[in-house]
Symmetry: C2
Subunit: 347 residues, 2 copies
DNA sequence: ATAGCATTTGACAACGTTGTCATTGTATCA
DNA sequence: TGATACAATGACAACGTTGTCAAATGCTAT
């Protein structure tokens, strides 16, 4: 390939117009498929477009257009590489692509400052709307953007924003069901391991845990509660500590997918995986290939994402009905680990 | 909150200027931290910015700016929800965020048509560059964009593009090592299960398989080769078929992470997981919690992503050295499944 | 006091596109 | 034939910003 092929700048409509021997506006009309261009000129323009490999500059177009739509949305996740987040992402992308919309994805790492940076970077690029798994309970920036009229949909977690659209699962009911299920298998000493307590989901699941214990008539023992566990390593460590304590739990409720994995690691390492019951919140790949197979409170991340995206696009298409708080159910999947009886026997 | 708070349009520099009682250009100078604005005016402008919650419109800015940079890059993945892809994504995002750059992520689903759509959508939004896991061997659109002077970095897979930057792992060596390792444990009937044969990685890993067999002096038996296996279900099915055939393999080399999982499912379902050896290409979460623990040829997706992103940003910062083809090593992690001897005994 | 200079400020054009409106050409009608 | 309607086309301004350049200001040196 010779250097002659190397063009330094992208061609513009003006150049297409010059080549086709028509006015700028006629090219614009052809590109936007507006009516009222003779087939002869249209043909000439299309040839010129092909010849120059012209591609419209949508940023210039967005600037001028009346509707101010950029066909771009922002997605704020905890971490794009978290399996749960990435399933959400995919579902949202699929809906977006049906609306010919591109998705900016960003990882806040549950850091409110980074979240704010991302919101600013996205709104500066004039995204049409935002879907967010909020890092903090109160995001000033999101709040403000929403007030500016930019559609914002919260997914998975709630933030304390006045009347916002949201799609979440019933975390409390899920947590309650997990504890109730363990209690029904005879467990009285059920430990709770949860994510950073400031996260809405972690807090709700903890409330579910408390509720479940109450329902089962079990007194809450604070020594069995471990909050602010945030990754596999700390989860493993926390479980090892619990197992080493004198008042050891007979069952674990791990309230997040990475915590569940850390707990399994700890159980396997100590050879206790068949003695201690375990229910995790959130399903994960391979859960049914482990030994014992892992019982979980499953959510449907794809459905969460799809619902959130559909809600956002409805807003973008002019739906001005009051904000919706959609709550999806969870489902207990009993695979074995949650059905271990006290003392380590399977039913 | 009253409706008075609802503003319909974003404030512009002009409005900030009016409020601060200065010219448009002075506001621009303050926003861009150009030298030569008196502290008094600067102060007044900053107050106005705060008061109006002004945020610069980067799309307008990009249009006018000389460098034509949008601080946006495009990332084309197979599937954002694939664990390997999402780890790549995260690593790239981390590098991008250091360059104050946002990432458009898209899933091609290994469909060249969808890939082309995404490339067009991204370049229409004038991304500064592209990082891509190419869906097809020859992407006309990517080829063209590259010729236009838009930096393109290929990652994980190669495409037949003249002299492009790329970051891949040594798939052939990895495949060869897997087969050699299995042969060293006495296996003669080693099956190959690979992704769509048109994918560069799948083809390379197959070549590694062939090479490994040759090295071990084993004749290739086409009945042990299953190509175009693309997801968990088809992989499980393919392994079930292999296990049911008269000339059953004693070891499996599964050349992609989802195929590995499907194979494990099939082995567990038939209770053969301790008789048939298995090495998978690509490590995955929980591989060392399964029974048997799964031996793999591991790549480092984060390092792949980081390297690719650093290469892209070097190009964007004006590095005009000849295209680089960076090849990273793989690593065999022996955990158990790959060390099962013929007949099902562990060494 | 005046020339000379540096500093601060703003007027204006331009980026690539679309919205508005005027102009041209052609066909239709009384 | 002339008036009218309609379709096709283009000239021009505008979107929100930055680059260029000129003007205004304040200072120093003569």
């Amino acid at each position: 390939m010779s250097n002659a092929n190397l063009i330094s700048r992208e061609p513009t409509m003006r150049e297409v117009a010059a080549l086709a021997g028509v006015s700028l506006k006629t090219v614009s009309r052809v590109i936007n498929q507006e009516a009222g261009v003779s087939s002869e000129l249209s043909e000439r323009v299309q040839n010129a477009v092909r010849q120059l490999h012209y591609q419209p500059n949508t940023t210039a177009s967005n600037l001028r257009r009346a509707d101010q739509r950029t066909a771009t949305i922002g997605l704020l996740l905890d971490d794009v590489s978290n399996p749960f987040s990435s399933l959400l992402h995919r579902a949202i992308e699929d809906v977006a692509s049906q609306h010919r919309t591109l998705v900016f994805a960003g990882s806040s790492g549950d850091d409110p400052k980074r979240e704010q940076e991302l919101v600013l970077a996205m709104t500066a690029r004039r995204v049409d709307g935002l879907i967010t798994v909020p890092a903090s309970r109160a995001s000033g920036e999101l709040n403000h953007r929403q007030r500016l009229g930019k559609p914002v949909v919260f997914v998975d977690r709630l933030a304390t924003i006045h009347a916002a659209d949201s799609v979440t699962v019933d975390n409390r009911a899920g947590g309650c069901a997990a504890v109730w299920h363990l209690a029904a298998h005879g467990h009285q000493r059920i430990a709770f391991l949860g994510d950073i307590h400031d996260l809405w989901t972690a807090a709700e699941r903890y409330l579910g845990y408390v509720e479940g214990l109450a329902l089962a008539g079990i007194r809450l023992d604070p020594s069995l509660v471990r909050q602010d566990v945030h990754n596999i390593e700390t989860a493993e460590q926390a479980v090892l500590e619990l197992l080493a304590s004198e008042q050891m739990p007979s069952a674990l409720f791990t309230a997040q997918n990475l915590i569940t994995i850390g707990a399994i690691q700890a159980l396997q390492r100590t050879g206790r995986q068949h003695q201690i019951a375990l229910i995790g919140f959130d399903d994960f790949l391979l859960a049914d290939l482990l030994d014992p197979r892992v019982s979980v409170i499953a959510q449907d991340p794809a459905r969460l994402g799809r619902t959130a995206a559909e809600l956002l696009f409805a807003r973008l298409d002019g739906d001005h009905t009051p904000p919706q708080q959609i709550v999806l159910p969870t489902r207990l999947i009993a695979r074995g680990s949650g059905e271990i009886l006290v003392g380590g026997k399977l039913r």
